[in-house]
Assembly symmetry: C2
Homo-oligomer: 107 residues x 2
DNA sequence: TCACTTAGTTACTTTATGTAATGAAGTATA
DNA sequence: TATACTTCATTACATAAAGTAACTAAGTGA
């Protein structure tokens, strides 16, 4: 029996979104351009993992990293068009969660 | 500086969706009721992880597990209302991926 | 000089996934 | 009645991903 394989584009999108923190980083950047430590403290991610995630997202052309050559140098992270185009997905998750999720009380 | 914390409902939804395989399992069940080994071979997940995921999703009331007392016993997995309500999220990811994702050639 | 900041990195620990073998309950065939 | 096969799992073990904490380089400011 040949199985209908899952579309590789969809699979790739899923593997991106099912990495921990990816969605929250994008969610945070939907608010606008931010610095490393802003994202870090806003979503409570560690420096190491944020650094990894931002690299992944840059490679996927979802996040843009800009070095502003002032002194001291300023580094700005923002969403590309591709990144911004994920907003509907994230808004849907947001809406769904408001309606359907009961937050855990013991956390 | 007090940070605007992220909504716990949204966070919980995100942590659910960012578990590996969760979305693909739901995606598969959007096609209708299925048996363990159907899901397994359709999305290429291992028995162990599928077992874990289905338990998680049952606990979240996203998936319903029904034991049909025939002989041999038949076990059917399907989406609850809550599970079905995730369809728009998944369709959005699907649409987004079709437009924006270049599949990796080397995989 | 000393303390503090930003944007990371490094070494190490813990948790999550993956792989492969196994089990229980049943069927199907010789 | 062996035996081989199926389904829905579980177990033991290996590897990969994420978390923690200390550290670095370059700069500020007192």
């Amino acid at each position: 029996m040949t199985q209908p394989t899952i579309c590789p584009k969809f699979e790739k999108a899923i593997s991106l979104l099912s990495q921990k923190w990816t969605t929250l980083v994008i969610y945070q950047l939907l608010l606008g351009t931010q610095h490393f430590s802003e994202i870090r403290s806003a979503i409570g991610i560690s420096g190491k993992v944020l650094s990894d995630r931002l690299k992944d997202l840059e490679n996927q052309q979802i996040v843009k990293r800009e070095v502003i050559p002032e002194t001291p140098v300023i580094i700005e992270y923002s969403l590309t068009e591709k990144g911004k185009s994920m907003e509907p997905i994230i808004r849907d998750i947001e809406k769904w969660s408001q309606f359907w999720i009961e937050p855990d009380l013991n956390e």
